[in-house]
């Protein structure tokens, strides 16, 4: 379903993704783990047509994201690291916009929106403006939205960041359920090792732009003689702390937006 071969992404002063190759078969839940700045999000951006690779081959459901971006976009749903909902629209309207953009016929759009909103326990709040939602509700809505156009692949980029354990637990239960019922291939990144351990069929560990290990949780633990996946992860990637460049613009912008909207 996903095929990546010898993928490189070089920016002016560093190589974010350095000769990455892997394959994800249909229906698999595949976790992409790595410390901050390891190249996870950059890889997702290249797979989802947001960023052109420097070199290498990419394939999603047999399609090339560079040459056929619009066909590729129809194949996947994505939940980004940062929220991407429109707070000034209601939950139902956010789904409606998504459905129209993905050419889902009106009838199917309404039915699936209802089914997904009920599944993610948002049906009662469907006419509430999204800016009044809690962090967990927003995340659930984003995942529901990602499923609306029945994608073949779902990308989840740190979907549980900042959620309480209840929300996280519930979120993975739903993702697992939809993976089973709709045969969606799931490509996820997370910093919570126990989540990867619980939901992922296979795990790749990436560090400094290179894949350092790939296999089931058990295989990774055996390879590193570790008790837990977390220990395996630390054995593979070391214990030094990575500093990501901070997104300084965001806070300032929030302040500005608040001022402007009074």
């Amino acid at each position: 379903m996903i095929r990546v071969a010898n993928l490189f992404k070089k920016f002016a002063d560093f190589t974010a993704v350095n000769d990455v190759s892997f394959e994800v078969p249909k229906g698999e839940i595949f976790a992409f783990l790595g410390p901050n700045g390891a190249g996870k999000t950059t890889t997702i951006k290249m797979l989802t047509t947001l960023l052109p690779p420097t070199s290498g081959r990419l394939e999603l459901n047999g399609l090339d994201p560079i040459r056929e971006p619009n066909q590729v976009r129809q194949q996947f749903g994505i939940v980004f690291q940062d929220p991407s909902l429109d707070g000034d629209l209601t939950a139902a309207e956010n789904l409606e916009v998504h459905g129209v953009l993905y050419n889902v016929p009106r009838k199917v759009r309404r039915e699936r929106a209802e089914m997904l909103l009920k599944l993610f326990e948002l049906w009662e709040r469907k006419d509430t403006l999204v800016k009044k939602f809690s962090g967990g509700m927003k995340r659930r809505l984003e995942i529901a939205r990602g499923f609306l156009h029945t994608p073949k692949i779902l990308f989840l980029d740190e979907p549980t960041l900042g959620l309480d354990p209840q929300s996280r637990n519930q979120l993975w239960t739903h993702v697992k359920r939809l993976n089973e019922t709709e045969q969606v291939t799931v490509f996820l990144t997370t910093h919570y090792m126990e989540e990867a351990d619980r939901v992922a069929h296979r795990i790749a560990v990436i560090d400094h732009g290179k894949i350092v290990a790939i296999g089931t949780s058990q295989e990774l633990r055996q390879r590193t003689n570790s008790e837990s996946l977390e220990d395996a992860f630390l054995a593979l990637t070391g214990t030094t702390i990575r500093d990501e460049t901070a997104n300084s613009g965001a806070d300032q912008m929030r302040q500005f937006a608040r001022m402007w909207r009074r």
Binding site: L85, Q252, M253, A257, R261
Partner: protein, 249 residues
């Protein structure tokens, strides 16, 4: 087509839902209208130019459309920061349609705001020369709105964060307003100013609106105004679409 429509609808919904902002953004035009309208009125009258309120009202309408549409374009920056832009950019829709939907939506919001100001002007004593002139006045409003929404989209696509926003406001948008003849007649100006005002797209919009609404002698004439605005609109739509296609997340 559906994609353009839904993005247009989103912009219009966002506008109609921001009630507080709509009222707040009536304050500035009303200041110009009332303070300048009644303050400069006597001088203007003595200089033999008739009622200043009649004169300035079309200018204030033009200003409102200018500010609202530029800002709707720059709101792209918020969508970029708050993420909704990404949602549209990974959708299987060519970017040009996303840009057109957004721009037309912003232009529609600007026209609604302009219409609101026209009503406010009429409450304070502004009288259009005839009701039959209104449709053409809306054509002019629409053209101004499209020109500056596309302009705003181009700027919004080029800026990375809000820091450049004040710069654009002070060095681009305010001069466009002050040099457009919204506040003073464009006759007998010093040479340099005369040239600059002719480069300003809003000059043609204000001239057109004023001619149509008040029947005053125009600087350029209706046909020239329509032609100039249409050409600028096409040019800026192409430029805006190009800038928009270059956005990287």
């Amino acid at each position: 087509m559906h994609a353009i429509f839904i993005l247009w609808l989103r912009e219009v919904k966002k506008y109609t839902r921001s009630r507080v902002q709509i009222v707040a953004s009536l304050a500035q035009p009303m200041l110009y209208l009332l303070v300048l309208g009644f303050g400069l009125g006597p001088v203007f009258q003595q200089a033999g130019n008739g009622s200043y309120l009649q004169f300035v009202a079309p200018g204030v309408i033009g200003m409102t459309v200018l500010f609202t549409s530029v800002f709707s374009g720059i709101a792209l920056l918020f969508d970029r920061q708050f993420g909704f832009l990404k949602e549209t950019l990974v959708a299987p829709v060519p970017r040009i349609r996303i840009m057109i939907g957004r721009t037309l939506g912003g232009a529609t919001a600007a026209m609604l705001q302009g219409t609101l100001i026209l009503l406010v002007c009429m409450i304070f004593g502004f009288r259009p020369v005839s009701l039959t002139s209104l449709p053409l006045a809306f054509v002019f409003m629409a053209l101004i709105a499209i020109v500056f929404s596309a302009f705003g989209t181009a700027i919004g696509s080029s800026l990375e964060d809000m820091q450049g926003f004040q710069l654009i406001m002070n060095f681009l948008v305010l001069p466009i307003f002050f040099l457009s003849g919204a506040l003073y007649p464009l006759h007998n100006l010093p040479k340099v100013l005369a040239v600059v005002t002719r480069v300003d797209p809003l000059s043609y919009g204000v001239d057109g609106l004023r001619g149509v609404l008040t029947g005053r002698l125009m600087v350029f004439g209706t046909a020239t105004d329509l032609l100039a605005l249409s050409l600028i609109a096409v040019a800026l739509l192409i430029f805006g679409a190009w800038r928009f296609s270059k956005i990287e997340i």
